[in-house]
């Protein structure tokens, strides 16, 4: 659907256009600046409008939307590659969606620290053990009390 789509021409009085299989992808992003608690930040394709975002979220994700504001982020064309050609970083559109019904949203921590317990006899377990032994061997003698081994004795 996405490649060079041409929508039917709209003139006043035409029925509402309905898309059966939308190809628009929304990316939820962590806001760079502090946003109010009911605001969710998305990166949306350039062709989407505020109404599209509202319908998309309401129909596909059943998220009640109060307001949508959009802006286009221009990204640099100044960077150059190894052959001194200018490299453009693609522009993107950002949508700030405010949730209705006094809902709030806080971007979660998707990469929490997890201490892994490898199962007995697995390859990772043996690797971990080996690394531990290596580190132990590399450490200096604790009886020297932090004195470097450069000096004799």
């Amino acid at each position: 659907m996405a490649k060079r789509i041409i929508y039917p021409l709209y003139q006043l009085g035409n029925p509402q256009l309905r898309i059966f299989r939308p190809t628009f992808n929304l990316t939820l992003v962590r806001p760079g600046k502090e946003q109010p608690p009911d605001t969710v930040q998305f990166r949306i394709p350039m062709e989407m409008t505020k109404f599209d975002v509202r319908n998309y979220l309401e129909k596909i994700y059943s998220v009640p939307v109060a307001a949508v504001r959009t802006r286009i982020q221009y990204c640099t064309n100044k960077k150059r590659n190894h052959s001194n050609q200018r490299v453009k970083r693609p522009d993107y559109k950002v949508a700030y969606v405010q949730l209705a019904q006094q809902q709030t949203f806080q971007f979660p921590d998707i990469f929490p620290e997890k201490d892994k317990k490898h199962e007995e006899g697995s390859v990772e377990e043996m690797q971990e053990k080996f690394m531990e032994d290596e580190r132990q061997r590399q450490k200096s003698d604790p009886r020297r009390g932090g004195v470097t081994e450069w000096f004799g004795l």
């Binding site: 021409l9 309905r18 299989r21 992808n25 998309y56 994700y61 006094q102 806080q106 979660p108 620290e113």
Partner: protein, 282 residues
């Protein structure tokens, strides 16, 4: 026009079907199912509390929500070699749907997340139109989730767990699109005999090349469209010799290729005559 009817919606899958063709039957069915699901989900909503403005940590909310709202396991046919993980699909009932932008909380922080093979066109052709429509939205939501994960990984400067999932979903989407296009093409051919959905015609451009021009919709006729009139769809007289020359070049290259092939075959036949092959058999 490919229209799908949702008359056979079971209340198990209350897929949020956004842009459906409105027909009375469908509306009624949708209303019935929505009422059913609303009734079901009201129970859930009683358990799930609406967050207030004051500090409600998403994590705390999420844990309560995930435990309260049931995870319903879809039948095997849905997950038959799906592109997605072997997690249980949760049907999107009326809850705060922003959780669908993230993976299951068990997978947060993992280095790798297991996922199956992508759907092939052969598997997709077996599915009905309704199933394909629903699958499209499953793929769409999965892709959104993966894109969110990718962007957050870039922000946190950490590797994204199992980036091959994105490629799998993209391929599944492309194959689904292919299957739907095939069905639309065959329907159109049978009903109207038209080969293409979008009308067009063969035209010659200013450089003498013949190409398939696809029509667009305009609110005004072509003779009032100044920009269209500047686009010349005829070959000027001084370009005609070059068209002939390029045609000759093309024909020459084709003939050369054929003669080269024939010569190569003759050389191989001389090197490996058929008689010896037959003799070795006997």
């Amino acid at each position: 026009m490919f229209c799908c009817s949702y008359i056979l919606l079971s209340d198990r899958w209350r897929c949020t079907l956004p842009f459906i063709v409105s027909s009375d039957i469908v509306k009624m069915a949708a209303a019935v199912t929505s009422r059913l699901t609303a009734a079901v989900c009201r129970q859930f909503q009683r358990v799930v509390t609406v967050s207030s403005h004051t500090q409600s940590q998403y994590a705390a909310q999420a844990s309560s929500k995930f435990h309260s709202c049931q995870r319903r396991r879809m039948y095997d046919s849905w997950w038959f070699r799906s592109a997605l993980n072997d997690r249980a699909l949760h049907t999107s009932c009326v809850r705060k749907g922003l959780e669908d932008f993230f993976d299951l909380p068990e997978n947060w922080g993992e280095q790798t997340v297991k996922s199956g093979a992508p759907w092939t066109a052969k598997q997709l052709r077996v599915k009905s139109n309704e199933d394909l429509h629903k699958l499209w939205y499953v793929f769409l939501k999965e892709k959104n989730m993966l894109l969110t994960l990718e962007q957050e990984a870039k922000r946190q400067r950490l590797p994204m767990p199992s980036p091959e999932r994105l490629k799998k979903v993209e391929r599944s989407i492309m194959r689904l699109d292919t299957v739907v296009k095939e069905r639309e093409d065959s329907l159109r051919l049978l009903q109207t005999g038209q080969e293409r959905g979008r009308p067009g015609e063969w035209r010659r451009n200013v450089f003498g090349k013949t190409f398939w021009y696809r029509f667009r919709e305009h609110p005004i006729p072509w003779y009032l469209n100044s920009r269209y009139k500047r686009r010349r769809f005829f070959e000027p007289s001084h370009v005609a010799p070059y068209t002939r020359l390029s045609l000759e070049k093309y024909l020459r290259s084709k003939i050369r290729k054929e003669t080269r092939e024939n010569r190569n075959q003759k050389r191989l036949a001389a090197m490996f005559p058929k008689k010896t092959a037959l003799a070795s058999d006997h």
